[in-house]
């Protein structure tokens, strides 16, 4: 029995070997590059099959190698697939549906998107998100760059200062906004008492930081304060990548501090700045908790003066259970982020070509 098996195997190997020789001959004469590549691929497959038969292993070396690699990826990839990829696909579909989460799903077509056009609350949310973004991005960028430049000098206690400026970033929003709301409390807060006592601003004119027209300004200032430390670290990494020789050359040319910044630091940091601006913009689009904590009422609801896109997604889904419409709003957020990401890719491609 064993012998017959062995004979069959040798026959099979010989057969394969013959086909392989024919293939090799075909490759030699083939002129079409595309066909040639295909043939070479086939040769590889034959080689592997023969190898497998000869060694008698069930798995070829390549398959084994692939299995090891997949075993490394699997724990993360399975979780990632189930909890991220599938919901993302589901989100795109849901934008065209009408569903309240319990009754059967209905097809809605583009109805959800046409509703957006006449929705004043949505328009307010979109407008506020963009205002917040336009205010926060340049201010945070300038503040974090300035901070990084100062903390890149040889100064005493540099490490302590770097650590301190990172505190707001790691501090929880709930806790730190509670402090801000007390510091800027309209009637009792120390900021307004200083305005009242030192600058003699009448009590009725004291700013109401967290309602009405000032709320966006407060949100912007707060997020600059909270996030500048994080972007400072990115700028520090960028600054440390600039060659010291460039500054020496500039010194020899008689450049002053400002000129060194203008002609060495700033151009050398252009890719870091680009990255910072893209990250900041995307993060601004996603703002939610800052608005809720600073401007939300007791149960966390927002009025049109402080509402933002993510809040509207949340409200439409988990309060009104209008899931299709909520996903349509989410698609608007997605398109905004997508545009910024495309700009980033285009920018990177341009940089690589240059």
């Amino acid at each position: 029995m064993q012998k017959i098996n062995d004979m069959q195997k040798t026959d099979k190997i010989n057969g394969l070997q013959e086909e392989l020789t024919a293939l090799i001959a075909a490759v030699r004469t083939e002129t079409n590059a595309k066909k040639k590549r295909k043939l070479i691929e086939q040769i590889g497959q034959y080689n592997r099959r023969i190898d497998k038969l000869k060694s008698g292993r069930i798995l070829s070396r390549e398959t084994k190698r692939d299995l090891v690699a997949y075993s490394f990826i699997a724990p993360n990839f399975i979780g990632f697939c189930v909890f991220t990829l599938i919901p993302i696909i589901f989100a795109f579909a849901l934008g065209f549906m009408k569903w309240d989460g319990s009754n059967p799903i209905e097809w809605a077509g583009i109805q959800n998107f046409t509703r957006l056009v006449d929705d004043t609350f949505f328009k307010a949310a979109l407008k506020n998100t963009i205002i917040y973004c336009v205010g926060t991005v340049p201010l945070t960028m300038v503040a974090s760059l300035a901070l990084a430049i100062v903390l890149n000098q040889k100064v005493i206690g540099r490490g302590i200062f770097r650590t301190l400026s990172f505190f707001p970033y790691v501090a929880s929003l709930v806790a730190i906004t509670a402090v801000w709301k007390m510091l800027f409390h309209p009637s009792k807060g120390p900021v307004n008492s200083i305005l009242y006592n030192t600058f003699h601003i009448p009590a009725e004119q004291l700013p109401q930081w967290f309602s009405g027209g000032l709320v966006m300004l407060s949100m912007i200032l707060f997020s600059v304060w909270k996030y500048m430390g994080y972007y400072m670290v990115i700028y520090l990494a960028g600054l440390q990548g600039i060659s010291y020789e460039l500054y020496e050359a500039a010194s020899l040319d008689g450049a002053n501090t400002w000129e060194k910044f203008r002609y060495v630091t700033w151009p050398q940091l252009s890719s870091t700045t680009f990255f910072v601006v893209v990250m900041l913009t995307i993060n601004c689009f996603k703002v939610y908790d800052i608005a809720i904590m600073l401007a939300g009422g007791g149960s966390g609801e927002l009025t049109t003066s402080a509402t933002v896109l993510v809040y509207y997604i949340y409200q439409k889904a988990f309060i009104d259970w209008d899931l299709g419409y909520s996903s349509a709003v989410a698609m608007v957020l997605f398109v905004m982020v997508l545009i910024v990401t495309i700009i980033q890719f285009a920018g990177q491609a341009k940089k690589e070509r240059a």
């Binding site: 690699a69 990826i73 929880s172 904590m293």
Partner: protein
């Protein structure tokens, strides 16, 4: 020569003035928080003159917060969530990243593309379908939901892969020739070398999970499942004028994150720089 020296001195003075200003702006809210946490509600807003430490520090604020709300329960939930998520994130990300960075296999680029395509996708875009799916799986109001949500991020894999690509291939090659299996190479060579990246990822994951608000808000409905952030927010809306207590709770909620950050921060700048987070 003398004027150059004078200029340098002025420059130093300006820099230190800026530094002190920064320190004040960054630190005052935290000092105010500490100070208010040992004051009575009446004293919190008595600002004339600036009294940082009240005559009779009200240390009882720190004791009362544990009884007014189930603060211990909230802390336990958050500690559990944060530790499990951080551990899973570090383990699975570095595992997958090793494969993407150092092994050759079929469909590598296709699989990695799936990660890249979603890295810029805000969670807020798909949080609704994700919630519906988790509810179907019976995870609504379970801590496990938050673990599933936070533990497998594209960001972690991407970051670790960037770092591993900076480690020379020869190192793995030599180990392979010595007959080490891929698992041993990962455990004995790559992991010990990736301290900066692991520290950076730990800070990011720990901070994000500890401070997360929207995730727990959507999933964790019952009182005994709430995290520290939800609990603190609930306390603030219920006892909005107990300023001293609110501040005591806030201080307590900050301590673990600050400890983790201070322990790991020496690797942080290096980690950010070497993992290409700057693009």
């Amino acid at each position: 020569m003398k004027s150059a020296h004078k200029k340098a001195v002025i420059g130093k003075v300006v820099i230190y003035a800026i530094l002190i200003l920064i320190a004040v702006v960054m630190v005052i809210p935290f000092l105010w928080m500490l100070s208010a946490s040992i004051k009575s509600d009446r004293e919190v807003f008595q600002m004339n003159p600036f009294v940082w430490i009240p005559e009779n520090p009200k240390w009882s604020n720190y004791a009362d917060i544990w009884t007014k709300i189930p603060f211990g329960r909230f802390v336990a939930n958050t500690v559990y969530l944060t530790i499990v998520v951080t551990f899973l994130q570090l383990l699975t990300s570095s595992f997958a990243a090793y494969s993407f960075a150092k092994l050759h296999f079929r469909h590598r680029n296709t699989l990695f593309l799936a990660y890249i395509a979603t890295i810029a996708m805000p969670w807020q875009v798909y949080m609704v379908p994700q919630f519906i799916m988790m509810r179907r799986m019976g995870l609504n109001d379970k801590l496990l939901a938050i673990i599933c949500l936070q533990a497998f991020s594209a960001f972690g894999v991407f970051m670790m892969k960037q770092f591993y690509e900076g480690i020379p291939d020869d190192l793995c090659e030599a180990a392979r020739i010595d007959g080490m299996s891929e698992y041993r190479i990962y455990a004995k060579i790559m992991l010990p070398l990736s301290k900066p990246a692991l520290s950076t990822l730990t800070i990011f994951t720990f901070v994000a999970t500890w401070n997360d608000y929207l995730g727990p808000l959507i999933y964790l409905k019952s009182q005994e499942k709430k995290t520290i952030q939800l609990g603190l927010k609930m306390f603030i809306s219920q006892y909005s004028s107990d300023y001293g207590l609110i501040m005591a709770g806030s201080v307590l909620s900050l301590i673990p994150v600050l400890i983790v950050f201070l322990v790991l921060q020496k690797y942080f700048v290096e980690g950010v720089a070497s993992t290409g987070l700057k693009g």
